[in-house]
Subunit: 241 residues, 2 copies
DNA sequence: CTTGCATAGTAAACGGTGTTAACGCACCTA
DNA sequence: TAGGTGCGTTAACACCGTTTACTATGCAAG
């Protein structure tokens, strides 16, 4: 075993395996602290303490606390995107059914992981790194919105739904959607508008529920959520049930 | 001037005047730090330093940093509510015009004060006190939603708009709206639903714009906002313009 | 006028934080 | 077997919130 990689191309050496394991352990500790004590509770010293290490050692793996949080947020976004995609795939062939399932999957994950949701979608804390600063085709938002967009597109090709007049959207919205075209390819503007409208409604409802912004009015936000889902899907041509 | 209050009923004594002035100065300093450096930058020591004081002195005015932030958030909520109310009152008599103006007023304030918006409506930070913990008729959310609700109610009495079937809303939504009835009085359930739906859509759009959650798709969130406002008001029976 | 007390400030200290620097140990490789 | 690199340590700096003990100031009553 002089220098030839024996098994696969990357052939992680022993050191590399240990390293990625430590990276994972650090992020797991960070998440544990995040969940149990909120963002303020995530400290290098506490993570290191839980691992039986000292804080400066973590700098061998992350350049700063901010970078650690950013990496954790990336992982969480992946987890959420996978959950949403799986929910859509488990919902059969009907695109409206898929959309409903993905929306419910998004809400469920967010309700079950409120602190993580806050880290991903909440106040962009300058000290925790301006997430959403990047703006390319690999933006987390784009990665996350793609399954929704694809379902909307399939539905549109199968059976379009009523939208605002095309020329109105072309005039007002079209000129400002270049990033969307760039990351997701060309789309009918009706699909783009309905996606953006629906995504902002979904985000608003879930964020308000997670952030306790509805408690002053509603005891069971899920009821409001289900009514909104139903109304939205009906507007898309689904049969009311 | 032995003990008789000379002027008004409260008759702020000299000490009380100085005290409230200091309280204001502390909150102003906190807001300045918040705006310039984010929530993490708000520290008692920094505030005191800017005032030419030492940190423990602030404990004569606030029991903790958390309480200070909470008081600041209360003030900001008042400022936002006043802005929104003023925008509605400046919009004439048409309730739909008032609703549009209040929605634009909400967005404008939020865009111009993104960090303050994050403090009020963003991630509820356990360390910064669980805002929205309380849940009475004087809840900040209730105080803030009232002008919207009143405009919806006036419009409903003047000319109702199409909604989901009343019995469906009574069955699914009605049982969970007690807090709303308690804080705002009895309302037609159509008004309650439309308010909640519209408020969550408004919140979603504005929060996504403020939190940079739309940049991956849209360069000018205002365009999307205006289209959404127009569509919503048309649904309420307004004339498209 | 003087006594007394509440108020508002101070300095010092405790335990916590992120981060940097200097150092040592262990392993891998040549 | 020698050397370098990766990974961990300790010590230190500069912050932070908070508590304690102490000191002036100014108001009010005797």
């Amino acid at each position: 075993m002089t220098m030839s990689p024996p098994r696969r191309e990357p052939s992680p050496t022993r050191r590399e395996r240990l390293r990625t394991a430590t990276v994972s352990e650090i992020k797991e500790g960070a998440r544990r602290l995040l969940v149990s004590g909120g963002p303020q509770a995530v400290s290098l010293r506490a993570i290191a303490r839980d691992m039986g290490m000292t804080a400066p050692a973590i700098y061998r793996y992350f350049p700063s606390l901010e970078a650690l949080i950013k990496a954790l947020a990336d992982d969480l976004m992946d987890e959420l995107a996978a959950t949403v995609t799986a929910a859509g795939e488990a919902a059969g062939d009907d695109p409206t059914g898929q959309l409903g399932a993905m929306a419910r999957g998004f809400r469920r994950w967010s309700i079950e992981h409120p602190v993580e949701f806050g880290l991903i979608f909440g106040t962009p804390n300058p000290a925790f790194g301006d997430l959403q600063a990047e703006c390319g085709p690999d933006d987390p938002g784009a990665r996350f919105g793609r399954p929704y967009l694809e379902a909307f597109l399939r539905l549109w090709q199968r059976s379009p739904w009523p939208t605002p007049p095309r020329e109105l959207m072309e005039a007002h919205l079209g000129p400002h959607l270049e990033p969307l075209w760039l990351s997701q390819g060309e789309l009918p503007i009706e699909v783009a508008y309905t996606f953006l409208s629906g995504w902002s409604r979904l985000y608003g409802l879930v964020a308000m529920e997670v952030f306790n912004q509805l408690r002053w009015a509603v005891t069971e936000p899920q009821a409001l959520f289900e009514v909104e889902i139903a109304m939205f899907l009906i507007q898309l041509g689904a049969q009311p049930d």
